[in-house]
């Protein structure tokens, strides 16, 4: 069943991706330089919306852009239309996967709450418009730096954090790649993704959604780690057993601001404000939740005061018993994107090869780029594994599994390794020594900040 879903390509997938590529290619050279080929691709993009509620605005905006006028409004329509297409791709892929896994997806029913406001967003929009006009190939040091002021202002406001973290990661890549004119290869899909998500998030009308308090037991399945130069985040995937008896997939995460020289296992030090969270992850312990806010998209907004650590509970055992037929959270309409799919699965009975698992009937790639230095899981352990808890992801035209934990045989002994085993510091002597040395970076920078920032 799963093999069929991983092998099949939903109808219309390639056509939808080709339309997305047409817009993305226009962003490489910039909306100020639309040649005949790129104009034709943009017109096909617009034509795809014929008969949809977006049709009029998309064709009008594309017409204006091709004629040489690019306003904030046109940019917003392009990003919105692109997200409708990535949303459709997401839905087709996820529906096939849900069916194969017997996963019951909750429908989205949350009303849109009040949205964000302010001058800061206008600053973000104007930088994003300049980027689109210049195109990635036109990004020089000055344009790449243009997002810095917006990021500083957004970071000062908790409601601006989501956009701040995105813009900061995106602009760091542009700064690193500038001048892009001389770059060998441009990450076309990636930058168009980041750009269009940022455009949507900088609209005053981007919806916020209310969270509701949840009680129950959180059983950990696995932990995914995220990072760019100025953020480190641990995101736990798990099962929420409600007092009423229901079981559903949820996520919960904590993120800290950092700098590029803090990376690897010592990045966990930046999450020192969350001892309960880290202890639960490091020891694979049950967490008893009392009134922890849960969003309609299945994210528990972690609050240390609403969590109590309980007994250790083996994630593999939890997955074997509870993961089949579990109910899965709805996806917020504007978060639907193939690259945002990260579905927890338990894989067993496969043959592990070099960088892939043979599931019988399909070879599933292992996403080794997502085995973080901050944890003990290595490609060698994955290759020696007999069971794997991981996230199914779709990127670059195919499915892959990102391992979060494996059961393996090392020197004839069974071992179980999880990405967050080092949440309280490395448990292995050599790594612990390296962490102690690297960790002094955190102390040095804190001391400097104390001396220089409060003058």
């Amino acid at each position: 069943m799963l093999a069929d879903a991983l092998r099949s390509r939903p109808a219309g997938l390639d056509e939808a991706l080709a339309l997305i590529d047409g817009l993305d290619d226009a962003l490489v050279h910039g909306l100020a330089r639309i040649d005949e080929d790129r104009a034709a691709a943009l017109e096909s993009f617009a034509a795809a919306f014929t008969g949809s509620p977006l049709a009029g605005r998309v064709s009008d905006s594309i017409g204006k852009v091709v004629a040489g006028t690019v306003t904030d409004d046109h940019v917003a329509v392009l990003a919105g239309a692109r997200s409708a297409l990535t949303g459709a791709v997401h839905d087709a892929l996820l529906a096939g996967l849900d069916e194969a896994l017997g996963r019951v997806r909750e429908p989205w029913a949350a009303p849109a709450g009040p949205a964000h406001s302010g001058q800061v967003l206008a600053g973000g929009r104007s930088w994003l418009r300049e980027l689109a006009i210049a195109g990635w190939r036109g990004v020089d040091h000055e344009l790449a730096n243009g997002g810095a002021q917006v990021v500083s202002a957004l970071l000062a406001d908790p409601a601006g954090r989501r956009l701040a973290v995105l813009l900061d990661g995106f602009s760091a890549e542009l700064r690193c790649a500038a001048p892009v004119a001389t770059l060998d290869r441009v990450p076309v899909r990636r930058w168009a993704d980041l750009w269009s998500r940022a455009v949507l998030l900088s609209q005053e009308t981007f919806p916020a959604h209310e969270a509701a308090p949840a009680d129950g037991r959180f059983l950990l399945l696995g932990v995914d780690l995220h990072e760019h130069p100025t953020v480190f985040r641990a995101q736990a995937h798990g099962l929420l057993e409600s007092p009423g008896g229901g079981v559903r997939l949820v996520r919960t995460s904590v993120a800290a601001a950092k700098v590029d020289t803090i990376s690897g296992p010592s990045a966990w030090r930046m999450l020192s404000a969350f001892p309960v969270f880290r202890a639960a992850l490091a020891g694979q312990r049950v967490v008893e939740l009392s009134g922890m806010p849960l969003t309609p998209g299945g994210d528990l907004l972690w609050d240390e005061s609403r969590a109590a650590v309980g007994e250790p509970a083996d994630p593999f055992a939890a997955a074997r018993v509870r993961l089949g037929g579990v109910s899965a959270p709805a996806v917020a309409p504007l978060d639907r994107h193939p690259a945002a799919i990260a579905e927890p699965v338990l894989l067993e009975g496969y043959t592990a090869g070099e960088g892939s698992f043979d599931l019988g009937g399909v070879t599933l790639a292992v996403d080794s780029d997502r085995l973080p230095e901050a944890g003990p899981l290595t490609p060698a352990l994955v290759a020696a594994s007999t069971a794997c808890l991981g996230l199914l992801r779709w990127d670059g035209g195919r499915w892959a599994v990102q391992p979060l934990a494996v059961q393996a045989t090392v020197r004839k002994k069974p071992v179980t390794v999880h990405t967050a085993d080092w949440a309280l510091g490395p448990t292995e002597a050599k790594a612990a020594k390296a962490e102690a040395t690297a960790g002094t970076a955190v102390e040095v920078l804190r001391e400097r900040a104390g001396r220089l920032l409060r003058r």
Binding site: D14, L17, N145, L155, P158, R161, R162, V165, L166, R175, C176, P187, V188, R189, R190, L194, R197, L225, H226, E227, H228, P229, V231, R233, T252, S253, V254, A255, A257, K258, V259, T261, S263, G264, A267, M270, L271, A273, G297, A332, H337, A339, A342, R370, L371, P372, E373, A374, D395, G396, A434, T437, T440, A441, V444, L445, A449, R451, L452, L453
Partner: protein, 166 residues
């Protein structure tokens, strides 16, 4: 179908920034390749309240070194022979980014088998950029004071944690 040749171009998670290597920060707390310069902050050997702000421009390899209070560095004194601060800066940059990446950014052609940057640098003098580099350092430090968050931050799916250089 996505072909092998354009796989990088059509990947949402295509890697762009190579992870930096860990290094000791006490002597050179801040290094960056930015705005066409290798620039950073070097601690003073004698005074904890003072730092030197040093930079090397890409292409013409213009040197600049001043204190954070904008006094010129006595070791460089407007010349083209690198002071100890510039040497420490270059050493830290190589430790953090690797020699190849620093050389490429500064547009340095290294002689075969060169172990350090200086053998390929033909230095000139450059205008003082201490004020902007130092404010960049303060912005850098300010990240350590930003409160942590439990916001779900959906866009972080595009940013996997740095993999080990195994």
């Amino acid at each position: 179908m996505t072909s092998e040749s354009d796989a990088y171009e059509r990947r949402s998670a295509a890697p762009v920034i190579a992870p930096v290597r860990p290094r000791k920060l006490a002597k050179v707390p801040f290094v960056e390749l930015s705005e066409g310069r290798l620039q950073g902050v070097v601690s003073s050997g004698s005074d904890v309240e003072r730092v030197y702000v040093s930079s090397i421009t890409a292409g013409d390899h213009g040197l600049s070194c001043n204190t954070n209070n904008n006094r010129p560095c006595g070791g460089l004194s407007g010349g083209t022979r690198a002071c100890n601060h510039l040497r420490a800066l270059a050493e830290a940059a190589v430790a953090q980014y690797g020699l190849d990446r620093v050389a490429r950014y500064l547009r340095v052609t290294l002689p075969d088998g060169a172990g350090d940057l200086w053998s390929g640098l033909h230095t000139t003098t450059a205008p003082n950029r201490a004020a902007e580099v130092f404010s960049g350092f303060l912005r850098h430090l300010a990240y350590l004071e930003v409160p942590p968050t439990a916001d779900p931050l959906p866009e972080l799916q595009w940013f996997p944690a740095a993999g080990a250089v195994r």
